[in-house]
């Protein structure tokens, strides 16, 4: 059997150009985690249901486990690591999770954070129902979602009070 053909995949991840040569079947979440060593994005199911792998592709949340890295070469990707502010402080959504006890084991959390970050850009003043709906594509086994919804509302509150991300 021949060795696998490798493709150069070039992405701008969290503002930084990064690249690696990988087989065409390398899943994007694996590419980020193992080829680029950005392990903040997690893998919970590999069939698109749990949402732990959610990252931002050109600013829009997508499942990292349902994309081949080679298919999106040339794109801009944002992961949870990229939502930290330039001075090292937590971004708004991250801070809101911390203040609202929105995480316990933390495994699902990166997928929620990217999803919510994008959601609040579209809808910065959600009702609780809208917040619940917005996170209804991500699974969490620890929190029962209650404090995650609180985190969404807290993030909206922070944005309302003038806090801004810087990343």
């Amino acid at each position: 059997m021949n060795p696998e053909e490798l493709f150069l995949v070039e992405l701008t991840v969290n503002g930084t150009p990064l690249s690696a040569r990988v087989p065409s079947r390398r899943i994007l979440s694996d590419f980020l985690r193992h080829d680029l060593r950005l392990t903040g994005t997690h893998v919970g199911c590999e069939h698109g249901v749990c949402g732990a792998c959610t990252i931002l592709l050109e600013g829009k949340p997508v499942r990292g486990c349902l994309i081949f890295a080679v298919s999106v070469t040339g794109s801009a990707v944002t992961t949870v690591e990229g939502l930290v502010n330039n001075d090292g402080s937590l971004g708004i959504v991250q801070r809101a999770f911390h203040e609202s006890h929105g995480l316990q084991c933390g495994f699902c959390t990166p997928g929620f954070i990217t999803t919510i970050h994008a959601f609040l850009k579209e809808n910065p003043h959600p009702t609780e129902e809208e917040a619940r709906e917005a996170i209804a594509g991500n699974l969490c086994r620890c929190t029962g979602y209650q404090n995650i919804i609180k985190s969404v509302m807290r993030a909206a509150e922070l944005i309302d009070s003038g806090v801004r991300d810087d990343h």
């Binding site: 690591e81 937590l90 911390h98 933390g106 209804a136 209650q146």
Partner: protein, 798 residues
């Protein structure tokens, strides 16, 4: 009696934000698969059949895959690795315990059982190799489900022809006689289906073998690193001292990760040593469904005798427990079911008989609640049935059967899962019930029902109570150390999967020592830092490690005050520690920093930094005594253990109001109310979070989740597409009320809280659905389709 410490509590009881969060929310967690990027990868060929004999394993086609390192079957295993996996919890009633092998030895007994291990450069390649291996089987007739196990037309283990692994009878009083002579009697048949913990992160093992020093370091996504360490050392024939096991960040456990050693926990280190290269295995979701563990399937038959007030005179429970293909975790679950079934009640007599059965399905080990949900379901359905029969309010019948506060401590006459008498130490069940009824508006519900009915809507209310034995032994330990920098290191051997241990244990130490919580750093689950431990399960971590750490911190405090007293030339009794400064009460100018005392506690020859100079031999020391006194040790540290006489019992009561849509039988949750008593609470925010998560699993287990095995033992829903773990839209907002009846059994007065939310889930929903529909609900979980079909059957039978 609570042994308190005489000072103002600053963070105990406060909703302190978690120290673990900043790292985790910024993607800096280190879970198992985040480690070992350069390690070799493992994948397994797992049995596609529920019961079969392996005839041949042909690897010829797999050998030329680039990146393959090795293929291993049972024939390749050596020494103890080739022996059956350990039976962790023996018990006299476990007559026919059986465990599996790390790789199947001729027979496979459930779909998913590992047969071949492949090691390769990466997981993609390893799976390619697995695909090319051809195994031929003689397919045998599988045993699936309790009825088939009982009927025993086929055996899971040929040496256990009746499929019975364990049988137990326990009696307190003569229940059968009491029932016979009781004014009223009822009979119920109840069933709960299999479900699973399903943490978002599966299992994982990463092992590094150091050839030069002949040492093994392994990481496992486990709830017990000391357990794994001991088991792996035994299997690999290594001295314990040569093996270290670390639990990294763990993405949820809920029980499935307390089981050890998993086959992979033995095989991955074995491979690492054999190949002299680091090896890592991360379980994928399908593997987790078919080769981890499930829980909950039980079938109960209940006979109950009671008087006209609804007081239970005799309770006779016979149940069957599905333990899956093997019993490595013994019969802890049915033992817990049989004892915790009684809940907050005191039936005049009780008989419980259980039979644990083998089936050709994934093994069964504790899932949050660990047998209590089944027991509570049985008891609460019985109490509801009594109330319905006597046309009494369901809460009134419960109140009449409650153990009363003045009767505490109350001995139920049984042996609990820790091998000790089942004795409730504290709890005020009438007060819990009163709070619950008020919060949910129990007494006004009929009015609410009428209002909804006027709009053509159907609602129901359910109630369920439970008692939970927590803080089970044998022990846990705590280590507290003050560094010369002022940093406080804390270690305990048990592990963390999101319970906020790095925060709550820091809160305890911050208070005990009088230091800022930001200076306190907690390590859990690392045998290098604390090697004596049991593990995180049974809602025990706060009680066990919390108390041990408090005791260790008190040792440090005592020593610090003694040394400070010497340095300040005053009586230690006159000193206090505030914000890391030891000072004379009332004369704050006379003070010495705790970190300086740390320096002084370790007489030095060499000053390694500026502050250390103060402790060198020409700077300090009473020449009339040795530098380190006889009964002392260098350093400012303490180590202590907490080993309880008995478990301490928490309790809770849940109520739920649901609406059932008439045409589709969909169940909507209108309100979910919890009253919870876990004694003194270290961090109320964290306890509430635990309750929310537990309730979510209770809702899931009542309305959404079950393992769907077909008759051939195939798991039909081995993915999140068909195993219906709920999203946020399916889970209600929980309203929680708290009671605190402190535990008299431990210095901090605390009880466990981890499992509370899930325990009465199926019971409370069955109660509410029955209340709405008017017919009996005896089987859970229930889907809208099943409810609709049941409605139809009931109508036809009427």
């Amino acid at each position: 009696m609570i042994l308190g410490c005489a000072m103002t509590t600053k963070s105990f009881g406060e909703p302190i934000l978690r120290k673990e969060d900043p790292r985790l929310v910024s993607g800096q967690g280190r879970y198992l698969d985040d480690l070992g990027h350069d390690a070799l990868a493992a994948a397994f060929l797992r049995s596609p059949h529920a019961s079969a004999r392996i005839l041949d394993i042909d690897v010829a086609d797999a050998l030329d895959v680039p990146g393959l390192i090795g293929i291993y079957t049972y024939e390749d295993l050596e020494g103890r690795v080739a022996e059956p996996l350990p039976l962790l919890i023996p018990h006299p009633a476990l007559l026919n315990g059986r465990t599996g092998y790390p790789l199947a030895n001729e027979y496979v007994r459930h779909v998913g059982e590992a047969i071949v291990m492949v090691i390769a450069e990466d997981r993609y390649v390893a799976e390619d190799v697995v695909d090319l291996i051809k195994v031929s089987y003689e397919i045998l007739k599988p045993v699936v489900g309790i009825e088939n196990a009982k009927a025993a037309h086929n055996a899971v283990h040929s040496s256990v022809p009746n499929n019975v692994s364990a049988h137990s009878v326990k009696e307190v009083g003569d229940a059968r006689a009491m029932i016979k002579s009781a004014p009223h009697k009822l009979s119920l048949d109840l069933f709960i289906e299999r479900s699973a913990c399903s943490p978002l992160e599966g299992k994982g093992v990463y092992a590094i073998w150091e050839e030069d020093s002949q040492e093994l370091r392994l990481w496992s996504s486990t709830q017990t690193s000391t357990g794994v360490r001991a088991a792996v050392a035994a299997k690999l024939d290594l001295p314990l001292q040569k093996v270290e096991c670390i639990a990294p960040d763990v993405g949820g456990g809920f029980g499935v990760k307390i089981m050890h050693p998993w086959p992979e926990e033995v095989l991955i280190p074995w491979a690492a040593r054999k190949l002299n290269r680091p090896v890592k295995w991360s379980e994928d979701r399908r593997e987790h469904f078919i080769s981890s563990a499930h829980e909950r399937a039980q079938e109960h038959h209940i006979e109950v005798g009671f008087d006209e007030e609804g007081r239970i005179l005799g309770l006779d429970v016979t149940f069957f427990h599905d333990n899956g293909a093997y019993t490595p975790y013994g019969i802890i679950i049915p033992l817990i079911t049989s004892t915790q079934l009684l809940g907050p009640y005191k039936p005049a007599s009780y008989r419980v008989e259980f039979t644990s059965l083998f089936t050709n399905t994934v093994l069964v080990i504790p899932y949050r609640g660990a047998g209590r949900p089944q027991g509570v379901f049985a008891m609460e359905r019985t109490v509801d049935a009594i109330a319905k029969y006597l046309k009494l309010d369901r809460t009134v019948v419960r109140e009449r059967n409650f153990i009363q506060p003045h009767e505490m401590p109350y001995d139920l006459g049984l042996i609990f899962q820790d091998g000790r008498p089942l004795e409730y130490d504290s709890g005020d069940f009438p007060a819990s019930m009163a709070m619950l009824k008020k919060m949910v508006g129990w007494d006004d519900f009929e009015t609410m029902r009428g209002e909804y009915a006027a709009q053509g809507r159907k609602i129901g209310i359910g109630v369920a109570c439970y008692v939970e034995g927590t803080g089970v032994g044998p022990y846990e330990g705590g280590f507290v150390q003050v560094e010369t920098s002022g940093r406080i290191n804390v270690a305990t051997g048990l592990t963390s999967q999101g319970q906020g241990h790095q925060t709550v244990f820091a809160q305890i130490v911050a208070d005990e020592l009088g230091v800022p919580i930001d200076d306190v750093f907690v390590t859990t689950g690392d045998t290098r830092r604390f090697p004596y431990a049991v593990g995180t399960f049974a809602s025990r971590a706060a009680v066990m490690s919390g108390n041990a750490i408090a005791l260790a911190a008190r040792q440090v405090r005592d020593k610090a005050l003694r040394l400070a007293g010497e340095a300040l030339e005053c009586d230690p009794q006159d000193l206090e520690i505030v914000d890391g400064i030891i000072r004379v009460k009332g004369d704050h100018a006379k003070s010495i920093a705790l970190k300086t005392v740390a320096v002084l506690s370790n007489p030095l020859r060499y000053a390694f930094d500026e502050s250390a100079k103060a402790a060198t031999q020409f700077a300090v020391g009473d020449t009339s005594k040795p530098p380190v006194p006889e009964d002392q040790e260098p350093g400012l540290e303490g180590k202590d253990y907490y080993s309880p006489m008995a478990s301490t019992f928490a309790n809770g009561m849940h109520a739920v109001i649901i609406e059932i849509l008439p045409e589709t039988a969909e169940v909507k949750i209108l309100r979910y109310v919890v009253v919870h008593d876990c004694g003194r609470v270290i961090n109320p925010m964290i306890v509430e979070g635990q309750i929310h998560g537990g309730v979510a699993q209770g809702v899931a287990g009542a309305l959404f989740e079950r393992m769907a095995y077909d008759e051939s033992g195939q798991l039909q829903n081995a993915s999140f597409m068909d195993f219906l773990m709920p999203y946020a839209t399916e889970i209600p907002t929980v309203e929680a009320g708290h009671l605190e009846t402190p535990s008299p059994l431990n210095p901090l007065g605390i009880k466990g809280a981890g499992e509370a939310g899930v325990i009465p889930g199926s019971a409370v929903f069955a109660s509410a659905i029955e209340d709405a529909e008017g017919f009996e609900i005896r089987r859970m979980p229930i889907s809208p389709s099943e409810l609709w079909e049941l409605r139809r059957t009931m109508k036809e039978n009427a």
